[in-house]
């Protein structure tokens, strides 16, 4: 019976390690992304992944180490008898009130590791979340305002000036603004910023392929920036259970080269100022 428990407690960590090892092959890992390689589609996303992998390595080593230690203790314990009588000399279980040195060690080492992670991730965090650390290209302002609403994403773009160039996006809606729903178009190949709002409850703006996740909080206007190297369609989901129709909040992010994006905006402008009268042929 002792052997059984020994095997039982070793079976689960071994299974866990094997499953984690095989998971990417089963597509249980990060989304494949438009490149099909499972890597983050944004430069900052790659760095977030690096952090993730670093933490994964640290926790994996810890996990395997502690499980091996557990296995060792169980196994040696199983070889010993319950009764002093049937225990051979030196094979009796021994009792301990702990080791001060060991405790100090396993307090200081993890604390050191945590401190290291906290400091090490600081610049990624700052770049992701702190307005002043955002890349220079997005400091000029957001390109769109995304408003989460039960159960869709309503998007407001700035209108165009006389030359057909986008105007700056104002905090309040303007008569010239353009609108789409569940369809966020932005330029690729450079950092871009959106303003995130919520019209009702809390939602979360989630671009899994870019590793962007930001809660949309009623009453706040939250800037979010990201960058896609590749012009492609990406999934935009809601990652905060926001009501019964939460699962319906599925939209798309379409990134395209800057010129193409401007062209798309002009098409949108043409569509939204359509008065239904056919253009007179000239």
């Amino acid at each position: 019976m002792k052997r059984f428990w020994c095997l039982f407690f070793m079976f689960w960590p071994i299974t866990a390690v094997i499953v984690c090892w095989l998971a990417p092959g089963w597509n249980w890992w990060f989304p494949q992304g438009p490149a099909g390689d499972g890597l983050a589609s944004s430069p900052l996303g790659r760095r977030i992944d690096d952090l993730f992998y670093m933490i994964l390595v640290i926790t994996s080593i810890t996990f395997v180490g502690t499980q091996v230690a557990l296995g060792y203790v169980l196994f040696t314990g199983a070889r010993r008898g319950d009764q002093p009588a049937d225990a051979e000399e030196g094979e009796k279980a021994w009792y301990t009130h702990g080791s001060h040195n060991l405790e100090v060690m396993w307090s200081i080492v993890p604390a050191g590791i945590l401190l290291f992670i906290a400091l090490y991730q600081m610049d990624v965090w700052a770049e992701y979340r702190v307005r002043n650390e955002f890349p220079k290209q997005v400091q000029s302002g957001p390109l769109a305002e995304v408003t989460a609403r039960q159960f869709e994403w309503r998007i407001r773009y700035p209108g165009l000036d006389e030359e057909g160039n986008p105007l700056p996006l104002m905090a309040e809606p303007q008569p010239t603004d353009l609108y789409t729903v569940n369809d966020l178009h932005l330029p690729s190949g450079k950092p871009v910023m959106i303003n995130l709002r919520s019209a009702d409850v809390q939602h979360s703006f989630f671009l899994p392929e870019l590793r962007v996740k930001q809660d949309a909080v009623p009453g706040l206007v939250i800037p979010v920036w990201f960058e896609t190297k590749k012009s492609a369609n990406y999934a935009l989901l809601c990652a905060e259970l926001c009501g019964w129709g939460h699962y319906k909040m599925k939209a798309r992010l379409v990134t395209q080269p800057e010129e193409e994006w401007r062209g798309w905006l002009r098409d949108l402008h043409a569509e939204q100022t359509d008065d239904g009268v056919p253009e007179q042929a000239e």
Partner: protein, 493 residues
């Protein structure tokens, strides 16, 4: 992977059956139960069919493609044009003329004859299709060539079946299995999900009495209805959206026909009417027993159903189909005759004057400042269908739901925010609601003035809001979240 498949299978099943205990069958109208059981049975037989008769619609899981309806049921529909083989012996290559091509014709699809000598025969399968020569190769071969003009359908019911699955997945929990707007989530929503059974849709591009076009419905599905719980289904593929549109139209047609069926029998064969007929018959003839009188009425009814009634039914359904077809004609689209009047302060001022004036009377519903609080919202209105007063003051739509005139200061336009959308809302009104059609009252230029005014109301309202400069709105947000888009500048237009 087997687990994944199983779950998908179960989920699909659940989708068809529906949540909240909805059953995969069409619910009858409530007023059907006013009829005597024999008349009820007839209505059900016509719609759903019974052991002996094929209905015109069937059930959700076993639907019938009734040819009279202008619904795209099948993958493709066409007629046999001429013999393409060498003319001798069995024929495998059919030269055809396609009337509808809704899905690509692919090998393995069933080809069913719907007219001519092969109706009811085991159907062949498509081996190949050549779109250049319009030739379908089939297997097994037909021994005798069909007659030119014989109709057939390829992939029978493919579009409707696809539509049903998608409808069950995306729409049914609000709009209900029958399309009666009575799905399990409907009771939490205001406005209520549309009940398709009146055959009426609010936001269309067609004239006031006309039906909705396919593209109107497709647009609603793609963009949703802002300001309501009708969500946007932007990510549907065009093929999927097309299939849902056909299914929604089919449900709408079914609902309309059901309504007419009940109406046609209500006068003479409601429980009440039959009781009073029996009474008067027995007054006239003392010796007549109750059951004999009743039997006589039933016999009369059967005779009526086989004769005049059937003729009327055919005329009605043909007329109805014609109306749906007419809406698809290019000239059914309402388009302004003059281009939008430039959106100038003068134009808006003219619009404002019309808005408040006696001719358009917009303010009586929408209120002087556009808040949707005009005087009519406090008055008791008449039901246009029954000509009786409603019990409570305020406006109602044709589905009997109370509704408010739109609050125009919010700048949310359910029927779309393009100028042409707003033009149409004012020109043809919002069907099924008290929002009237002004196409005959106002000139195009005047409607454009109104559009210019209405689209400016939200900004006017904002300018009036005390202490709101626009840019300050995000100022109390924390620093990380503060928006730095600079002061709001009024963009000239």
């Amino acid at each position: 992977m087997r687990v994944g498949l199983l779950i998908i299978g179960a989920a699909a099943l659940a989708a068809v059956v529906g949540c909240g205990g909805q059953r995969a069958e069409f619910k009858s109208r409530e007023d059907l139960s006013d009829l005597i059981p024999e008349a009820q049975a007839h209505v059900r037989q016509v719609l759903d069919g019974d052991d002996e008769h094929v209905g015109h619609f069937g059930s959700p899981l076993n639907s019938i493609a009734w040819e009279r309806l202008p619904v795209r049921f099948h993958g493709a529909v066409g007629v046999f044009a001429e013999n393409a083989g060498d003319g001798s012996g069995a024929l495998t290559k059919l030269k055809v003329t396609l009337a509808e091509l809704n899905r690509p014709i692919e090998p393995g699809q069933e080809l069913v004859w719907v007219s001519g000598k092969y109706v009811g025969q085991p159907s062949p399968h498509v081996v190949s299709y050549d779109s250049k020569t319009n030739t379908v190769e089939i297997k097994p071969a037909v021994s005798v060539p069909p007659d030119a003009g014989d109709r057939f359908a390829v992939a029978p019911g493919a579009v409707l079946k696809h539509g049903r699955m998608l409808y069950a997945e995306h729409c049914q929990h609000c709009h209900g299995v029958t399309g009666d707007g009575g799905g399990p989530t409907a009771k939490y929503l205001n406005p209520k999900p549309r009940d398709y059974r009146l055959g009426k849709f609010k936001f269309t591009s067609t004239a006031t009495p006309a039906r909705a076009r396919r593209e109107d419905l497709a647009r609603i599905i793609e963009d949703g209805i802002p300001g309501t719980y009708m969500p946007s289904f932007k990510l549907l593929e065009p093929e999927e959206s097309q299939a849902i549109v056909e299914y929604v139209r089919w449900l709408a047609m079914r609902g309309e026909i059901e309504f007419k069926l009940v109406q046609s029998l209500k006068n003479d064969y409601s429980i009440e009417a039959v009781e009073s007929t029996i009474e008067s018959a027995r007054k006239a003839d003392e010796g007549l027993s109750n059951s004999a009188a009743r039997e006589q009425i039933i016999a009369e009814m059967q005779e009526y159903l086989a004769g005049d009634w059937l003729e009327e039914f055919n005329d009605d359904t043909k007329f109805q189909s014609e109306q749906w077809r007419n809406a698809e004609q290019p000239d059914a689209v309402v388009l302004p005759k003059v281009a939008r009047v430039p959106d100038t302060p003068e134009s808006r001022a003219r619009g404002r004057k019309l808005y408040l004036g006696q001719r358009a009377k917009c303010a009586t519903c929408h209120g002087e400042s556009g808040l949707g609080d005009g005087s009519q919202t406090l008055a008791v209105q008449k039901n246009p269908m029954t000509n009786e007063d409603y019990d409570t003051p305020g406006l109602f739509d044709d589905w009997g739901n109370p509704l408010k005139p739109r609050n125009l200061t919010r700048g949310i336009y359910r029927g779309g925010r393009r100028p042409v959308d707003l033009y149409r809302r004012i020109h043809v009104g919002i069907k099924g609601t008290p929002m009237p059609a002004f196409g005959t009252v106002l000139k195009d230029e005047e409607i454009w003035d109104l559009v210019n005014y209405v689209t400016h109301v939200p900004f006017e309202a904002r300018e009036r809001r005390p202490g709101d400069g626009g840019a300050e709105s995000g100022a109390d947000a924390p620093k990380v979240a503060a928006s730095k888009s600079g002061p709001s500048l009024q963009v000239a237009n």
